[in-house]
Amino acid sequence: MTISADHKEQGLADARPDEMDENEQASEVRRKFGISVEDYMLPARHQIQMVDPSGALNPQGEQGAEPGHEYPIPGDTELMAAYEQLVVGRRVNDQNSALVRQGRMAVYPSSHGQEACQVAAALCLREGDWLFPTYRDAVAVMSRGVDPVEAMTIFRGDWHGGYDPAKHKVGIQCTPLTTQLLHAVGVAHAAKLRGEDTVVLAMCGDGATSEGDFHEALNFAAVFHLPVIFFVQNNKYAISVPLSHQSVAPSLAHKAVGYGMAGERVDGNDLVALLAVLDRAVKLAREGSGPLLVEAHTYRMQAHTNADDATRYREDSEVAAWMAKDPITRMTAYLGGRGLLDDEGSARIAAKAEGVATQLREGLGEEVPVDPQNLFRYVFSKPTPQLKEQSALLADELAREASSQKEAGK
């Protein structure tokens, strides 16, 4: 597969991948990045990390960057906007977990500890781009501008999805693993056929890379040369099963070269590095460099869901070690050290986070009346005769129930 920035421009619109001259590909990569195709596609030797767990900026030579894998530090405005979302994201995760304990939410797969990944995945995109999240990515969904209560509807239990995917350009949070990666490929393909420069970012976890649709999605994206970023949050566990049982590849990012796309590893608890890597990935994808695979090393600090008991499969000491790498304390220290964050700023952001938490408590606390007729309303664009019959059956049943309750009340 080629790294060509734009086939059409070069009169190669119809060139099939297998007709591309290998030397031509190599020279194009060399021209653009100054390295070989293999060095472009293989991840850098070390993960990209810009800010260490203490909040100190790594010296330039120790950020993991290499020739052709260079990552400028994002601007202050971007960092501050992202930090704000980071704090809000943590508050949302903890608020939702509390609502589950109180029985006001059916379930909540928390991204506590992974908020930097969530925020960066959303903020690297621009208007018109699409995001395809999983069930654990509610914070990313919110960070794309979806109303918090609408984003949580899936977990409240009155409908499967709460927001309009077309309006927000955010796919419905997907449960069957990696099936949404193919939807991302399709959205990107349709946009490319219309000549639009849409970029699509699709999220999945480490366990999900074992699924067949992961393979099919990466391969389709590479073969059709589509601007899709596959963003893998490697949080080390698929419910209880550790990564070593999913893959023995050198890293998940190394899988990219097998598809003919570029891969990179990044510290998934370092918001600065995440933004740098994903911003560049989005830029390359938009320029026509094809799909990219980004693996973020992070950790699921809490159990899979409230129904899970993580003490059965991992040691407290492991969790404690990751606690020290927390994305928020790290970012707070970094921004404070650079003089970008003062007490006033921290208070303003904390107040904003509290406002979102209040919105969630109120929105998810209220009893939303469900309409039983909605069961039939959306199966097809127009109900079939059979669904009309069944809808009438239920209406009649409810009417009789209501009138007998009325009788009993007399």
């Binding site: 619109a13 119809d14 699409w130 409908w159 499967h160 999805g161 309009d164 995917p165 077309a166 309006k167 796919g171 419905i172 069957p176 099936t179 990666l181 193919l182 939807h183 991302a184 490929v185 399709g186 959205v187 990107a188 393909h189 349709a190 946009a191 056929l193 219309r194 000549g195 067949g212 649709d213 099919e216 999605a217 391969n219 389709f220 073969v223 909605n374 309303r377 959306y378 199966v379 097809f380 664009s381 079939t384 005769p385 059979q386």
Partner: protein, 375 residues
């Protein structure tokens, strides 16, 4: 599998290579050539299906055709013959060999303004896509409260009768019919090949389009221009024959209810019965989902007897659903229990055994004889 279908596509080699809109512009010329050659003529169902796709692509630049071998080869059954040459590689193209990928990518394309018409090469080759079909194609509209529509057609060459080897002859319609949110169509005539595929492509809901592969080579006198006019009239009136069964043969003594590959067998049985003085009505179900209870029940109420015919295994199948529905609606009109003639509950047999398995005229007539005719 080397089907002897030769759909002499009039497609010129003016393959459009630009974007979608310019591809459509240059396609108009060759579509006009197709129109010129029409008028009443004898064509195959393969040609009718091919023409339906060409006409839909010509009418709407968001209609795309893709799958395995559908491009240069024109499909292993040649149903997409000439579409790549006519409309360009942007609108008819080959994908990597991965059915879940084909369906999943089509979902994303449909979410983003396209109307994909995709081919599963054979019935049993569609199974890798089952998760995408059941968990997304069928549910996306409902999950999003109607805000995301998936106007896509999944074409599935299905059923047997062609001496195919294992995994090439499954009757898989029951899996899809059992899944809420999918429409399931199956044409049995050449004209319906055109008519129903246009309706499926027009539908804002996803359609499993089950093509009886043994009928690809069936021929009929068809006026494509008349079918085009009929389609245009439906579109402008906002009507269609969608979801309607057809009375394929009028009769008074008993009703044969069949669909897809079994319709010609049912018609042959009715012709044989007529020679013995028994008048059988034949209903062609056409649309399994939605199901036309009205037409089916009206026929059974008139005749008082019914046999349901299907190639698929009888157990927990479309044929069992039809029997249940007819029984619920027509019990007091029935002179005899409803009978079924279906495939046995065995894996689809090897070529030399398939004639024992498939519903045959004799087996249908035997079932009709069993409908308690004394008096």
């Amino acid at each position: 599998m080397s089907p002897a279908v030769s759909t002499s596509s009039e497609a010129t080699e003016t393959a459009a290579t630009g974007d979608v809109s310019s591809a459509t512009a240059s396609a108009a010329a060759s579509a006009a050539a197709v129109a010129e050659a029409s008028g009443p003529q004898t064509i195959t169902m393969a040609k009718a299906l091919n023409t339906a796709m060409a006409d839909a692509m010509e009418a709407d630049s968001s209609v795309l055709v893709f799958g395995e071998d559908v491009g240069r080869l024109g499909g292993v059954f040649r149903i997409t013959d000439g579409l790549m040459a006519t409309f360009g590689e942007q609108r008819c193209f080959d994908t990597p060999l991965a059915e879940s990928g084909i369906v999943g990518m089509a979902v994303g394309m449909a979410m983003n303004g396209m109307r994909p018409v995709i081919e599963m090469q054979f019935d049993a080759f569609a199974y890798p896509a089952f998760e995408q079909i059941v968990s997304h194609v069928a549910k996306m509209h409902n999950r999003t409260r109607g805000t995301v529509k998936l106007p896509m057609v999944i074409r599935v060459p299905y059923a047997g009768g062609i001496g195919g080897v294992e995994h090439h002859c499954d009757s898989s319609e029951s899996y899809y019919a059992h899944t809420a949110g999918l429409k399931v169509y199956t044409p049995a005539t050449v004209a319906d090949g055109y008519r129903m595929l246009r309706e499926a492509i027009d539908s804002d809901d996803p359609v499993m389009f089950m093509e009886p592969k043994k009928l690809y080579w069936s021929k009929d006198q068809v006026d494509l221009d008349a079918l085009r006019a009929e389609h245009a009239a439906h579109v402008s009136a906002g009507s269609s024959s969608e979801g309607r069964a057809a009375v394929a043969r009028q009769g008074t003594d008993a009703t044969l209810i069949a669909y897809g590959p079994s319709v010609p067998t049912a018609l042959a049985a009715a012709a044989a019965a007529a020679e013995e003085g028994r008048s059988l009505e034949v209903i062609d179900v056409r649309s399994i989902v939605p199901f036309d209870d009205e037409t089916v029940s009206a026929s059974v109420r008139k005749t008082g007897r019914a046999v349901v015919i299907a190639e698929a295994h009888g157990f927990a199948s479309v044929s069992s659903e039809i029997v249940a529905r007819v029984q619920e609606r027509c019990f007091h009109y029935l002179a005899a229990p409803i009978r079924r003639v279906t495939g046995f509950d065995v894996p689809y047999p090897a070529p030399k055994l398939e004639h024992y398995y498939l519903p045959s005229v004799d087996r249908i007539l035997d079932a009709v004889d069993d409908l308690q005719w004394e008096n």
